[in-house]
């Protein structure tokens, strides 16, 4: 049973909400008391209505099973000057009739028993255009953002995780046009294997991949209050795809090695021929010196 955000004593964050978009969870709420009932949990969520005109504060509440929830909006101390503040609770366009009112807070009590009760509930301060929204949702499922790349004939393992909440069941399916194709492992046991690695994690193993297995796969987690999906993309490549860069690099290596060895061979040849020339000159010199009658035994040593 989790709530989001953290308690804080700061004032409103009105401006920030307007610039950052509607999904921002509020930073002000008071953690309420929890009462564990025998078959359902009960929690209170409070929100402080912002002090800036035309702004809205939002809060995401995740529920995975039936619960009793109390949502309440507390009026900011800025508005104590108003004589008769009016707050309306709405769900979509539908106004909720009965709510509890205390000195400066308005709250509604909801019994969330099934999917139909989930959604967005908002409280609006009349005349001032200030509101707060509570989004009651099923837990989100994490698939994978980047595609998984596998090769033909190989095995692919696709993983979906649920954080914090344990789904009742997992199912996998693919979408073909507008049709949902369920991945039935009992039908094709050699192709698919669905494994529940742990309470919150599911694995789909696809064996003997072909290019037809390429595409998007959806994992669906069923909770008491509804279903939630995660997406995993699979890309199946043929082995030729990495083979081309591989061969290119191998060719480059062979070329470089050949160049290095050829350069060495030729520079050695040049050295040798230069030395032979030198020797030749030395011999010539010796001959000329001998003929000149000079005994130069020191020059006799030959360098090899």
């Amino acid at each position: 049973w989790q709530t989001q955000g953290s308690p804080s004593d700061h004032l409103t964050i009105g401006h920030k909400v307007s610039t950052l978009g509607p999904d921002l969870t509020t930073q002000e709420f008071k953690q309420a008391t929890k009462e564990n009932m025998t078959n359902a949990t009960f929690a209170v969520y409070e929100v402080l209505l912002p002090g800036v005109l035309g702004t809205s504060v939002e809060k995401n509440i995740t529920l995975d099973r039936a619960a009793r929830v109390e949502l309440s909006c507390i009026l900011n101390s800025k508005y104590t000057h108003l004589k008769n503040p009016q707050v309306t609770w709405k769900r979509g366009n539908e106004t909720i009739g009965h709510f509890n009112k205390t000195e400066n807070s308005w709250s509604i009590q909801l019994r969330i028993l099934d999917h139909s009760k989930l959604g967005s509930y908002s409280c609006t301060l009349k005349g001032e255009e200030i509101s707060a929204k509570f989004h009651l949702q099923v837990p989100t499922i994490e698939g994978k953002e980047k595609p998984i790349i596998c090769y033909e004939g190989d095995t692919a393992v696709m993983i979906c995780k649920s954080f914090g909440y344990t789904p009742i069941a997992w199912t996998w399916y693919r979408i073909n046009g507008s049709e949902k194709i369920l991945i039935n492992e009992t039908l094709l046991t050699e192709k698919y294997m669905i494994d529940r690695a742990s309470a919150n994690v599911t694995h789909l193993k696809i064996l003997k991949l072909t290019s037809r297995d390429d595409g998007v796969y959806w994992c669906e987690a069923a909770f008491e209050l509804g279903k939630s999906e995660g997406k995993v993309k699979l890309k199946v490549l043929s082995f030729m795809v990495p083979l081309k860069p591989f061969l290119a690099i191998v060719a480059e290596v062979v070329i470089f090695v050949t160049i290095v060895f050829l350069y060495e061979f030729y520079s050695k040849k040049k050295e040798k021929s230069a030395e032979e020339e030198k020797e030749f000159d030395q011999v010539e010199q010796l001959k000329s010196e001998e003929s000149n009658g000079l005994d130069n035994s020191g020059a006799r040593h030959r360098k090899i």
Binding site: I149, P245, F246, V253, V260, R302
Partner: protein
């Protein structure tokens, strides 16, 4: 009779083709160090694919690292026998084969073998010979050459990380491994650049045709002495077997275990083994520590990028500083200082507050890390000399292998036990400061002993009764080295070789 030019030792070129060799070593060393780290990008996907836990996948990296360091002695033996070039080319080929076969793996065990052992072994055959050949090509400018070559590691890491991500997004892990196998074949190109140094091979060819076999052996022995390289082993062993050679000497021909009696080597070994206990853990845990203090994932990863970039520049600059005439004779002190500096950074890290503090820590850590790495092999070369370095590096890496593997897990255990990262930083910092201080003190003692031995040796040589004819070549080598640091040990090997040649 062999020519009379055998008296003058030419010495390493210190330039020319040497810079091309540095480029090759840059690539080779870069792959050897950066590749295991770059693989981490694929782990999540492989983990999902095989359905294993994270620690089982992390073993792939550990096995690879262990093999790269543990196969050091084998690498040394092969280089002693065949020279750097064939070993590096074979290593590159092995890496390529390892990764290509890894792309077809169907179980995690096969990955351990293909990626861990085969590729790891190939990288080991890349790392050691690259470091060794720098010692053969450079003497006076060796620290610069070492610094530049070691800079390959951060550069390759910065290149491989986004490249791996790109390959993964486009080809999945199997295709990426295939292409990485091809990329690793570039180590063969690097190896092709490692032209064997010294005229020994050339003179063998020309002389075979002209003179007899005995004279040939003597020539090789003399050339080897001049170049300070062990002789062409196949010839020697034939002769020695006939002569009933001592088995210890034979083993020492392949891998010089007599190094364990070498004072400088032992100091280096103990100091480095201690240092590595705290060397790698901070890098492994920097990003998780940043996330732990509330920094978001991208900024945490960025800290490592800062570290790599600073490291990239720190290495060549350290090489240049280490080469200067003030530092080179006392390079061991500089090395001890950089280790202590590194340790101090870690000790101060827990005091860093907020993102700015961590950025400053990353900058200093990158600097210190680069300084230590640039001089890691240079100091060993300085202590044992280029000839014995081949065996030294192999022995050092296999002993370091244990502590390198233990470092991060011990750090991890500390973090898990206390729930706080600061104890890990304190442990790493303390260990490194201890190692740095130990090295500083012991090297001070070593320098003094070497100076004393040098004086004694000079006194003996003045004496006319000493074996002057043998020492002709040795004196020249001695004079060349005296100004560059204590490298008197290689001479004992020379004397050994002479004895063997004279004995046949």
């Amino acid at each position: 009779p062999p020519p009379a030019n055998a008296g003058r030792a030419p010495g390493p070129p210190d330039g020319g083709w040497g810079w091309v060799v540095v480029l090759g070593a840059f690539v080779s060393i870069g792959f050897a160090y950066a590749f295991p780290k770059g693989l981490a990008i694929f782990f999540k996907e492989i983990q999902d694919f095989f359905g294993t836990s994270y620690s089982e996948i992390a073993w792939v990296s550990s096995i690879m690292l262990a093999t790269t360091y543990g196969a050091g002695p084998i690498s040394s033996i092969l280089v002693n026998r065949y020279g750097s070039r064939p070993v590096v080319m074979f290593g590159g080929l092995l890496c390529g084969i390892g990764m290509v076969s890894a792309s077809f793996c169907t179980s995690i065990l096969q990955l351990y073998i293909c990626v861990g052992f085969i590729t790891g072994f190939g990288l080991a055959l890349n790392l050691q010979p690259s470091v060794i050949i720098i010692g053969k090509y450079f003497l006076k400018r060796r620290p610069i050459a070492n610094g530049l070559a070691m800079a390959g590691s951060p550069v390759m890491l910065c290149t491989l990380a986004p490249l791996n991500q790109f390959l993964f997004d486009n080809f999945g892990w199997r295709g990426s491994f295939l292409i990485l196998g091809a990329i690793l074949l570039n180590c063969c190109v690097a190896g092709a650049l490692f032209r064997p140094i010294g005229a020994a091979t050339a003179s063998v060819k020309t002389q075979e045709t002209e003179e007899g076999k005995d004279a040939l052996k003597e020539e090789i022995a003399k050339d080897a002495m001049e170049m300070n390289r062990p002789t062409d082993v196949p010839m020697e062993t034939e002769v020695e077997e006939e002569g009933g050679k001592d088995c210890c000497e034979k083993v020492n021909q392949y891998l010089d275990f007599s190094l364990f009696k070498h004072r400088g080597f032992l100091i280096y070994l103990i100091g480095n083994v201690l240092m590595f206990l705290g060397f790698f853990a901070p890098i492994v845990f920097l990003a998780p520590y940043a996330k732990h203090t509330g920094i978001d994932e991208y900024s945490s990863a960025f800290l490592l990028s800062i570290l790599a970039i600073v490291d990239m520049f720190a290495r060549p600059i350290t090489g240049i500083i280490a080469n200067s005439k003030w530092v080179r004779p006392r390079i061991q002190y500089f090395f001890s200082f950089s280790i202590t500096f590194n340790g101090t950074c870690h000790l101060l890290c827990p005091l860093a507050s907020g993102y700015t503090g961590l950025v400053i820590y990353s900058i200093f850590f990158g600097l210190a890390f680069g300084m230590v790495c640039a001089m890691l092999f240079e100091t060993l070369m300085d202590l044992v000399g280029a000839a014995r370095f081949t065996s030294a590096v192999g022995l050092v890496t296999i002993v370091e292998c244990c502590t390198i593997l233990l470092g991060p897990p011990i750090g991890g255990t500390l973090i898990d036990t206390f729930g706080d990262y600061k104890y890990m930083f304190i442990k790493c910092g303390a260990v490194m400061v201890l190692a740095g201080t130990f090295l500083f003190i012991m090297n001070y003692y070593n320098y003094r002993m070497l100076a004393k031995e040098e004086k004694e040796r000079k006194a003996k040589e003045e004496d006319p009764k000493s074996v002057r004819t043998e020492n002709e070549g040795r004196n020249n080598w001695n004079k060349e080295n005296a100004q560059d640091g204590p490298e008197l040990e290689p001479l004992s090997e020379e004397r050994e070789l002479k004895k063997e040649v004279n004995g046949t």
